[in-house]
Amino acid sequence: MNDELKQEQIARINIYALLSRLTMSEVDEGLLKSIEEDENMLSFFPSYAKWKKRDEYDRKHLIEQYLNVDFTNLFLLHLIPYESFYTREDQMMETGGDNPVQAIFNAFEFRVELDKARVMAADHIGIELEFMYELCKAELKALEDGDLEMAKQLAQLQYGFMRDHIVEWMPMYLINVKNESGTAFYFDLADFVLEFIMSDFQYLSDLKDKEYKYIV
């Protein structure tokens, strides 16, 4: 496969991994260090890069006193990072087997460990983003193996999942996160996710328009 396609896929994999990780659980010192020390990563957190509190406190203090508090507010208590909350008329979370996202995971034999994820249902933002990460990984492997049909199916799946799920609700939630965030870090993260999913949906749409003719 050509390098540009490979780079694209690796970028998608890495970004989905990072975004799913940060939207699913609190950032830890190691990851924060990685972000701060990697100019590419840090470039996605422009406000945080300039945040004055970073000069005042060490990472541990920053996490415990600010970032975790904000995370709790944005992901656990105040806002509801679940698709069903945004898509059901009654704004109830669907935590059972009728959750449409759970049904997709089941259909493709992806089993999400809700306890490990510490989430209530499979349609949590972090889970959906990690699902995209898994699909991107699989797509890359298919491309590397030269199995273009499989890669196509995986890309179709990604497109369909984004169209029917991620794009349907995540922007609404992320705009709420931007409004409610109390730290530069989570403000930037919301912006990052929002920008990226829109961009990636455009990418997948283009690929679909090209009838999945990869330039390998």
Binding site: I15, S20, E109, S199
Partner: protein, 1096 residues
């Protein structure tokens, strides 16, 4: 940043840390180890069936809840020998029982896991609702679901303990004893007391019951002992409402038909968001509202109910009667928009006892003397009565109510009330309980007056959507298992009258004056006075038995309780039948651990709708074990044996304890004549067992008996009725119970048949008002009523009608209050002191003087029964500050979170009691001038744990819900301050249920033990404790801490005496202790009722 170029994101490829190292990796793709196609389990059920069919209750298999989090069976499969990592399947026996946390008695099911039954392990994994209970309908409130955490509370008392020999009460030194050791000592003491056989000894054993949650077993105990020794918590909880209802209908309380009402008319938050039959009533109220019913809440506090009501009227607490009589005035004097009368004249004419008032010329003259009416009615006709009533209530104008209830600026609310009230017609459902009725001197009149507008519009007829009466819908057979005993009959009534429970100052109290027992016990002056007048009052209680009761903490003037309970000359032997640690336990000689909701055997009946239903609380481990083949060695101790075998500890319960205690220890040779009432008819060598006793008791319900004995599952069982209720947990004997007073009185030409008794016509006298009378000892009782030529059963009053005019009240020294009335001007307000609340706004002179509203319930707490629940303690943290109206707070410079000193002052005597320190929260949700702070918080303990000699673990004390305090008391002044917050005790028992003890984040409720500061306020008529207080607030000092209390309980005693002086006690010439016809728990004989007061 909209929109970044796609190229920007390509930077992602250059991350120094690869995605694989960052992602959480919550997706697993390992395949299912085992096909689940053969299993009944699925991750995607078509429906969520909350309750399995009863056919499956003996063995219902369900996937383990914890393992669902691992992704369900699709990933792991079902656990089996070949698939050890699969999801565990639990095999449950689902045993129905009844919640015991409040009086509502909602149905529960205990899900008893019997996976390891063969290894001798049985555990209750969860408590759910019981769908067969037609009141709670499968639902529970937070307290119901908390039962698991209570059952497996790490601080559960594991065995009987006794005050260590040589130590004093309150020292906290305990030793372990067996139930048999304890019963031997207690039984001997009871035997020796009863063996004296004199009048006083029949008053020296006192069974003091907290919220009973059962219908009759408890009262049978003292009755079988031949004593007048039943005492209860009832008075502090509801005496005012009971008094008002008894005067109208001689019934305990009303029983509304919420679901079919057009208007839900509530005084306080009771029923809709807390309090009596709350969860069941709330569901029915919600259904009514969904149908379009309106809701009015009269409450100084914006409760949850008030918040969602169509109309909230924050009347000044204790003045509600004025509002109700205003409604009566308008109902009498106005018409509907179509010109028709608002009064239901046909109903009022037939079913209110106006005729007796009109015939009583002496009383009518008195009414003129009181200024109630200006002239004698022109005749005895109904029309003249209506004219009289119109005049009587005409002073209760809108202007008057606005001033009296302090509703200035809220006049429009009265108009809105009228607009809601009139269109509702007779379909108004109400509960005039708590708050207005119990918080105040004269609170009973709030209920008495409140029923008047309802009676006038016909809502008190008890028809669909209206207000029925409590006992129409209640079934009490738990005391009637007589047929299972050797005696084969009910114990006879005692000839003794216990003045400690029923003091001569309060002949019409409702009911036992248990809340001021210590004051009476330690009041030598009172004791001597009545002894000289000829009463035989015991100087000590030989055996004092609280039962699931914490009187020291729950009652006012707690330090007096403490002093009294420490006095071994006053309380010779004390033991608390208590499931949990409590403040009272600390001062008892024995603490005998008894069961909670799923560990007891009780018949209960809760009238939450117009039906007759029973529920059966039972020891679920015993039942589950018996269903799996286990058999107790001693059938009379099966519950205790089951609890010991299956790891709950030496936890017993009363329906096995009392028969054993009495049979083997109190009257072991039968010479006292008590034993036969508890000896088993089946096997007279032992006492009755639970199946025997309750089968006999429940067989008294004809429909239940017919159902059980014709059911193929039960008809061949030895105890078919017991077996039926064991499996179902609830039974609805009759539905649609409306207006039974209008049922025809049976007359076969020779006999009248009333309530199962035949009366020959020659023995029946009909009076001029149509009431039928028969002899009842030295007295007469009425058995029916002729209304327009038809015989009816009638209400339970003497007149057999609703008593607008309480004729007997005139004879019992309160003639001026024999009709619904409320002071109409300042002069009357001063004169009719018995009807004026001690927190009336006239007593509030300065900006920092307030009425303190103390008695609203928190929906997730229940007085003294929730401190053992981790779950309830967690959700109730910091929910009990002092609510203060924002503008009042502003004026005093009080901000949210400020500690304030709340000083209690008695408005009758002017005496100050002391203060408590609490956290202020300014809010719009309480009315100006009225503070709110529920008295449900403020638990305390002196030690975190106790060590029991010879037992390897120390026992934690209320470690999840009570802070530790230091206390001083010198006989006059008591103080308390918190020294340490919540410190979970190590879980040496029930570890599996308490793995989260490290996560206890809370530090104790923010409330103070305000009950200790409150002096005793006995209402001179109903005898209720007026809970509300006048308080003077200020910012707390530098050394004051939230939770601190400081009480001068010597002053409190003076307040008690001042209030006692308002009463109108028995005097020379009085022949009866109490009106014989009105309700009294465990009614003694007429001989006991008779009295002679000496002139000294």
């Amino acid at each position: 940043m909209y929109l970044q170029s796609r190229r920007t994101f390509l930077k992602g490829a250059a991350f120094t840390v690869a995605g694989a190292a960052i992602a959480n990796g919550v997706f697993a793709t390992d395949s299912v180890a085992e096909s689940v196609s053969d299993s009944k389990f699925t991750n995607t059920p078509d429906t969520i069936s909350f309750y399995p069919d009863i056919k499956e209750w003996d063995s219902f298999k369900e996937l383990d809840g914890t393992d669902w989090k691992r992704g369900g069976i699709n990933r792991h499969g079902v656990r089996s020998e070949s698939n050890p990592d699969g999801i565990q399947v639990n095999d449950y026996t689902i045993v129905p029982t009844v919640c015991s946390n409040c009086e509502a008695g909602c149905g529960l099911t205990a899900w008893v896991n019997k996976n390891e039954f063969e290894k001798g392990i049985l555990t209750v994994r969860k408590y759910m609702g019981n769908p067969l209970h037609t009141g709670s309908r499968g639902r529970n409130c937070a307290k119901g679901y908390a039962v698991t955490s209570q059952m497996y509370d790490p601080d559960r008392i594991p065995f009987p303990i006794k005050r260590a020999p040589g130590s004093k009460r309150g020292e906290g030194k305990w030793v372990r004893v067996t139930w048999d050791d304890a019963m031997e000592v207690i039984g001997k003491k009871m035997h020796d007391t009863l063996a004296k056989g004199d009048e006083v000894s029949k008053k020296q054993i006192m069974y003091h019951v907290g919220r009973p949650n059962e219908n009759g077993f408890g009262p049978r105990v003292p009755q079988s002992l031949g004593i007048d020794g039943y005492n209860s918590h009832t008075n502090i909880c509801s005496a005012g409402a009971r008094e008002g209802t008894i005067q109208w209908a001689n019934d305990d309380r009303n029983s509304p038909d919420w679901a079919n009402a057009n208007l839900i008319f509530l005084q306080s938050s009771h029923a809709a968001d807390a309090g009596h039959y709350f969860q069941q009533s709330a569901g029915l109220i919600a259904e009514a509202r969904k149908r379009g019913s309106k809701m009015v809440v009269i409450d100084p506090r914006m409760s949850n109910s008030a918040g969602i009501a169509d109309l909230w009227i924050p009347a000044w607490p204790g003045t509600e009667a004025a509002l109700y009589l205003y409604l009566a005035n308008r109902i009498l004097n106005e018409n509907k928009k179509d010109g028709s009368a608002i009064v239901d004249h046909k109903y009022v004419k037939e079913w209110l006892n106006w005729d007796r008032l009109m015939a009583n010329k002496d009383y009518l003259k008195k009414m003129i003397g009181y200024g109630y009416i200006s002239k004698m009615p022109k005749d005895d006709s109904y029309e003249s009565f209506i004219e009289l009533a119109k005049e009587l209530y005409s002073p209760y104008t809108k202007e008057f109510v606005v001033k009296e209830c302090k509703l200035e600026g809220m006049e429009y609310k009265l108009d809105e009330l009228w607009e809601l009230f009139v269109p509702a017609g007779a379909k108004i459902a109400s509960y005039l309980w708590r708050a207005g009725a119990i918080g105040h001197r004269g609170g009973w009149m709030n209920t008495r007056a409140g029923f008047l507008p309802l009676a006038l519009v016909g809502a008190m007829r008890g028809d669909i959507g209206g207000v029925g009466m409590h006992h129409w819908h209640e079934i009490s057979v738990a005391g009637k298992g007589d047929k299972a005993t050797v005696a084969g009959k009910h114990p006879s009534k005692t000839d003794a009258w216990n003045e400690i429970a029923w003091p001569p100052e309060y002949p019409i109290s409702t009911y036992e004056m248990g809340f001021m027992m210590p004051q009476m016990m330690m009041d030598d002056e009172w004791h001597n006075k009545w002894t000289e007048k000829g009463l035989k009052i015991p100087k000590s209680i030989a055996v004092y038995v609280p039962r699931m009761h914490n009187p020291l903490w729950i009652n006012p003037d707690g330090f007096r309780w403490m002093e009294a309970l420490k006095r071994e000359d006053k309380f010779e032997l004390t033991f608390n039948l208590s499931p949990t640690w409590s403040e009272t336990n600390w001062y008892c000689d024995y603490v005998l651990p008894v069961g909670l909701a799923g560990e007891r055997n009780d018949q209960q009946s809760t009238p939450s709708k117009p039906e007759q239903r029973i529920e059966f609380r039972q020891a679920v481990l015993r039942v589950a074990a018996e269903k799996s083949g286990w058999k107790a060695k001693d059938p009379t101790r099966a519950t205790l044996e089951a609890h010991m075998k299956y790891g709950l500890g030496e936890v017993w319960e009363e329906s096995e304890f009392w028969p054993n205690l009495i049979f083997h220890h109190v009257d072991k040779d039968g010479k006292l004549g008590i034993r036969d009432y508890w000896a088993s008819k089946k096997d007279p060598s032992r006492c009755v067992s639970v199946p025997e006793y309750f089968d006999a008791a429940l067989s008294l319900l004809p429909r239940l008996k017919a159902a059980a004995t014709s059911d193929s599952r039960y008809k061949n069982e030895e105890y078919p009725v017991y077996s039926y209720i064991r499996d179902h947990g609830a039974w609805t004997e009759k539905t649609n119970v409306y207006k039974p007073q209008e049922e025809e009185l049976e007359f076969d030409g020779t006999h009248y048949i009333a309530h199962g008794h035949k009366h020959h016509k020659d023995e029946v006298r009909k009076d001029e008002f149509g009431a039928l009378w028969v002899k009842d000892g030295e007295l007469e009782k009425s058995i029916g009523i002729d209304v327009d030529g038809k015989l009816h059963e009638g209400f339970h009053t003497l007149s057999k009608k609703l008593e607008f005019f309480s004729e007997w009240l005139t004879e019992w020294k309160w003639p001026e209050y024999a009709v619904p009335i409320y002071p109409r001007n300042d002069a009357e307000n001063d004169k009719m002191v018995e009807l004026v609340t001690q927190v009336h706004h006239k007593y509030m002179k300065a900006d920092n003087e307030f009425a303190l509203n103390t008695i609203y319930r928190l929906p997730y707490n229940i007085h003294t029964r929730s401190v053992n629940s981790k779950h309830l303690m967690e959700i109730s943290q910091n929910h009990n500050p002092v609510w203060i109206y924002t503008k009042d707070a502003e004026k005093l410079g009080i901000k949210r979170g400020d500690a304030i000193k709340v000083q209690i002052e008695d408005t009758l005597s002017g005496i100050k009691s002391g203060y408590f320190i609490a956290m202020a929260v300014p809010t719009e949700a309480t009315r100006p001038g009225v503070l709110a702070c529920s008295h449900h918080a403020g638990r305390w303990k002196l030690q975190n744990s106790v060590d029991i000699p010879g037992f390897e673990h120390s026992l934690g004390i209320m470690s999840l819900g009570s802070p530790k305090v230091s206390m001083t008391n010198d006989g006059k002044v008591g103080t308390m301050t918190t020294t340490e917050g919540i410190k979970p005790h190590k879980a040496w028992q029930f570890k599996e249920y308490n793995r989260d003890l490290d996560d206890i984040w809370w530090n104790g409720l923010s409330g103070a033990w305000q009950n200790a500061v409150a002096p005793v306020h006995p209402d001179p008529v109903a005898g209720n404790h007026g809970w509300h207080q006048k308080v003077i607030i200020s910012k707390a000092g530098a050394n004051d801490k939230i939770g601190d209390i400081h009480v001068n309980y010597e002053n409190n005693f003076k307040v008690y005496k001042a209030w006692q002086a308002l009463a109108r006690p028995l005097t020379v010439g009085d022949q009866w202790r109490r009106p014989y016809h009105i309700k009294r728990p465990v009614k003694p004989s007429q001989k006991a009722y008779k009295v002679e007061i000496k002139d000294v």
